[in-house]
Symmetry: C2
Subunit: 665 residues, 2 copies
């Protein structure tokens, strides 16, 4: 290569100059690294962390300027009552759409509300009450435009399954109803508190996979509960798991004189509803047909029973029904009973499940229309609507999946459709009272049954299986937990597996050897992912694949690193060059505890015994601050920390070259 | 800039050539990224994951060649019995050191063993038995050279505190002793099983901070238990928490006629032991003085009691003592009692605590002498030593901190010092039987008390406070849990806080804006950490600071990213250039679930509505494989994924330049 002496010297000088530039640049970058901003004090960090969770947006409420202040108050009120902002732009032709979708919604809502009240072991009027007050409150405070508020199947099941353990509704219906209102009050309080404390992330604890599994299991359990009404069983079980319910059904076949009329009536109207749904799916213009089919079924079947007096021939009917406006239920709330803790727990579970369903449904429709739903604001709205509901004889309401879909396809423009629905339900409470007395229970069962297939999403379960096996375990865990044990256990299993997975992640931390990508100067990549990446001889670059270097993985990472060093020294016999430098890329590590620092110091000590220099590349702000606090650099050597892997490798290479044993031109 | 038309054209052509080169290189790198190795099938992944945990080293046991096979068997045996490898190099002058340190060890071990047996509510000979068999087994199977095996304070406390809840030793000493052996058997079985299944990482669940807090709390609790012997109380409490113990002590001052002789005897010898320790610390050559001081105290005080017949004047003595070789205890193991589950649980806790202490102590001394201790092998050795121990009247043994330190400073060379100690203890069991009958209980209390200060490490607790506040919470949680509730609750609190912290890490995931470092072409860094980094106008580079993108943080990360986009568009009014490209650096993300994928798709959809292109930089192997499986690229657009941030920024910039609205030369 040394063709001409002068040329060679000039090149060498140039090279030296470049090297010097390199070194200066490198040193400067290391300086930047070492002089990164000081860490905030412990108190500041704590306050920041809390503030960030609780108040991510700083609003101008406490501004000094009085005009700004007034604007701040108004924007705060607008945030709390979104009706103030959209109400000013509301136009007549929007109301046309809302009126139509509100009426469609009401016709679906009336039979469903009665059915869900029945599922929740309550008298049917409570379902209708729940479709009056909460939608009105939500219309003022909520920000979703499509969400249809009212009782839903899963929450009704949860309430009946858990409160029945405390008080049997067959024995003491008044105490049971009081407990339901108290639970609703607690649920609303929890929801409002979560929203005000900006704990919206709590809803995320039920992952997508868990919801799919839980909904599927709950749908089957709810379907099985409908066997009671569909067959006309008198003595049913209070448990919800498959085994108990099937046992109860078989027992009733033996013990009770069942009238086949219930079954025939229920099934024929179920077929009618399913056929209308099929027609509605084929012809999108007839979307209203499946929506009004349940109400038509209720009216027709009730008239049939009333005219033929079938209730005297074994057909079970609703019987208990009280019309009129929602009565006050303030005096029914119990805050000093022996079951207060239990009731609060049920309230918490209902609050979370209700929020999860409403926010999941609301978000998916909001993202279709291209607007964003603030989880925390929704929580406050839901919370207030349930608190007010619990004072006006309503049980826990939330956003219903099936009715929201109907609302959407009916072309609703705003939450006004909820107001229309609430008024319609209220009018029917006044007018239909007499009629609903004769409604056969089998029809209510078939109305609920017809709504269930939408809750079972086999395609999504298959997609989850394909994409992420562990998520599928969560999904199937929730499904079988609900099916074979109980609703709470199903939820607990799903949340438990999800969190076990989060814990396992750092424990299973791995390491990967990095190499330089061909054609680049300082892009270093995993040599497994990019087989083309080449290793620099004498320098081993290892990246720690974990977000935190903590007690749970420090030892295993140290052992993996040392094994990689031994392995590299063993396999590189042909090149006859042992590892002299270990570059540890810690760019992934976001947090480190004392065990992590002890591990780095131990690793350094063990590498020194093998005469290998430990070099650290790209520590993050938190890591470098922690290392500074722990006086880690005094032990590791201050010069051995670099901003990039490239800098570290250059520094190691230049040190190797300056070694007298290296060859020269 | 366009000084000369020809020059300018040539520069432009060069530029174009360079751009073309850039583009080719970039495309090639993206190709590498997209063609990264296929993911292993689910079954393979599962098997690999299990294999990696259970068998990190593939040994050649099942090799085809018969010679290799024999060598493999021998190396396997060497792995199981390290004595086979070091025994061949053992030399006479090494034995000289081992003999000396073994004798020193025995002189400390005899009084400590009796004291710890007393703490465990067992007859004193069981402590000595435990110092005979387990050290011999460990000498054959263990790989630490310094670890002194025998009974230790914390495990003795654990045993007595937890088994006393099942059977009161004052009421039925035989049943109590049987339970202790059964617990020891379970502990040994668990330890061996953990080692064989290579679950060494279980020991790491007790973090360094938890151990510091737990040991400190346990030391105080043990010290308080010694008040019984030191004051000579007859009716003491079975509980270990500070409040109960102090209550019992004050009650005894009222109710019992306490002889001050016990207290005077105990305190004077405690002072003697502490003085010798002080001398030993000042003059390193006199290391043997504090080591033999306890034995000297026992012998002198016993002779004093024997000669003055002080036991008839209120001085409490050991009394029950049975000499001779360890009797068999096979018939005492109970596997069919009603408490089997409880006993297995205690065994598990003891197994983990014993392993944690032994491995922590063993590792710290091994790293001083520069060799490595394999946690899994140690677990197998400890497991077998406790199983054999439980069959030969020993209770749970492990590596003692205080005696290991004495062994080390006495200059031990190998585990032979343990053999010397075991033989010495065995001889003393034969000879000292008569003598030990008259040993005053107060002396045993002072021997234990003198060993406790080593367990309380205030300096380390202060260091933990300085480096990591959360670790300090773990430490103090364990400390107060042990002190005021019970030993198990203390452990549970520490482990619980540690895991809560692991769970909180991904939930608190943050995002950071990256900028180009001055003087570099494609080094992009956090602009908070490196205030000199500059942002490229029109391109927002965001890095996700989390090891996993999962259900727990997907929503919050999406909201943070969208907020950053809004904020940047708001603040960049002076440049009048809105964000057109969002580069999402996902290099930190090691794992992703279905919620993460849904989040990326939703983010893309919401950015499209703001006419911003989402670009993904540097996805890891697992992430890109998951995105491929979920067919994520079909939705995000295949061309918008790059290997480095630099590539992504270049691609975005060139697209912006080719825009007709841009200015040209």
């Amino acid at each position: 290569m040394c063709s001409h002496p002068n040329e060679s010297i000039s090149i060498e000088l140039q090279q030296l100059q470049l090297d010097a530039d390199d070194t200066t640049g490198r040193n400067q970058r290391t300086q930047w690294l070492m002089n990164s901003p000081e860490p905030p004090s412990f108190c500041n960090e704590l306050i920041n962390s809390v503030t960030e969770t609780v108040l991510p947006q700083k609003n101008n409420l406490f501004s000094s300027n009085s005009k700004q202040c007034r604007a701040g108050v108004f924007s705060f009120l607008q945030g709390l009552f979104p009706i103030l902002s959209w109400g000013r732009n509301y136009k007549a032709n929007m109301f046309k759409h809302d009126l139509l979708s509100g009426l469609t919604l009401a016709s679906l809502c009336i039979p469903q509300s009665i059915g869900y009240a029945n599922l929740a072991n309550l008298d049917p009027q409570y379902g209708l009450y729940t479709s009056v007050v909460p939608p009105l409150i939500y219309a003022v405070m909520g920000s979703s435009r499509e969400l249809a508020i009212g009782p839903v199947a899963v929450v009704s099941l949860l309430l009946s399954a858990m409160i029945t353990d405390i008080v049997d509704p067959a024995v003491d219906p008044t105490a049971y109803t009081s407990l339901v209102f108290t639970v609703t009050f607690f649920a609303g309080t929890f929801q409002a508190a979560f929203g005000l404390l900006r704990l919206g992330f709590l809803v995320d604890f039920l992952s997508h996979a868990a919801i799919v599994g839980f909904m599927g299991g709950a749908a089957i359990v709810i379907g099985l509960q409908q066997l009671k009404g569909l067959i006309g069983i008198t003595h049913f079980t209070n448990k919800t798991d498959v085994v108990s319910v099937l046992k109860a059904v078989f027992r009733s076949f033996h013990d009770e004189a069942l009238s086949p009329m219930n079954f025939i009536l229920g099934c024929s109207f179920l077929i009618f509803i399913l056929v209308t749904r099929f027609i509605g799916k084929r012809n999108k213009k007839l979307f209203w047909l499946p929506a009004i089919a349940p109400l038509v079924s209720v009216i027709v079947s009730t008239l049939m029973v009333y005219l033929t007096k079938a209730d005297q021939h074994g057909v079970k009917i609703v019987k208990h029904f009280k019309g009129g406006l929602n009565p006050s239920s303030v005096h029914q709330l119990q805050f000093n009973g022996p079951h207060l803790g239990e009731v609060a727990k049920i309230g918490l579970i209902c609050a979370l499940v209700a929020l999860t369903e409403a926010i999941a449904v609301g978000r998916s429709f909001a993202s279709m229309k291209g607007y964003h739903l603030d989880g925390n604001k929704e929580m406050v709205a839901m919370g207030f609507m349930n608190i007010v509901g619990s004072l006006t004889s309503c049980y826990t309401a939330t956003g219903s999946f099936s009715r929201t879909a109907v609302n959407f396809s009916a072309g609703c423009e705003s939450v006004v459709s909820n107001i229309v629905m609430a008024i319609t339900v209220f009018i029917s409470l006044e007018l239909l009272t007499k009629l609903l007395y004769y409604t056969p229970l089998a029809i209510l069962a078939s109305v609920i049954l017809s709504a269930l297939p939408g809750l079972i999403d086999i395609n999504e379960a298959y997609h989850i299986w394909k994409v992420d096996k562990m998520d599928f375990v969560v999904c199937i865990g929730a499904f079988f937990g609900v099916l074979f044990v109980s609703v709470e256990i199903g939820l607990l299993v799903a949340v438990g597996i999800s969190f076990a997975r989060i814990i396992l992640d750092p424990i299973r931390a791995s390491t990967e050897v990095q190499g330089r990508l061909p054609g680049t100067t300082d892009t270093f990549c995993d040599i497994t992912q990019y087989p083309g990446a080449t290793r620099t001889s004498g320098i081993l670059i290892i990246r720690i694949n974990s977000g935190s270097l903590c007690f749970a993985n420090a030892t295993s990472i140290r052992e993996r690193v040392l094994k990689l060093v031994t392995h590299t020294n063993g396999s590189e016999e042909n090149t006859k060059e042992n590892v002299h430098f270990l570059v540890l890329d810690v760019s992934n590590i976001m947090s480190m505890d004392t065990s992590g620092i002890v591990m780095l110091e131990e690793l350094h000590r063990e590498l020194v015994l093998q005469s290998i220099q430990l070099t650290i590349a790209n520590p993050r702000l938190r890591v470098i601050n922690k290392m500074k606090t722990a006086k880690c650099f005094d032990k590791l050597g201050k010069g051995w920390i670099f901003l990039t892997i490239g800098d570290a490798v250059d520094a190691c290479s230049s040190l190797k070259l300056s070694d007298p044993s290296s060859t020269n031109c």
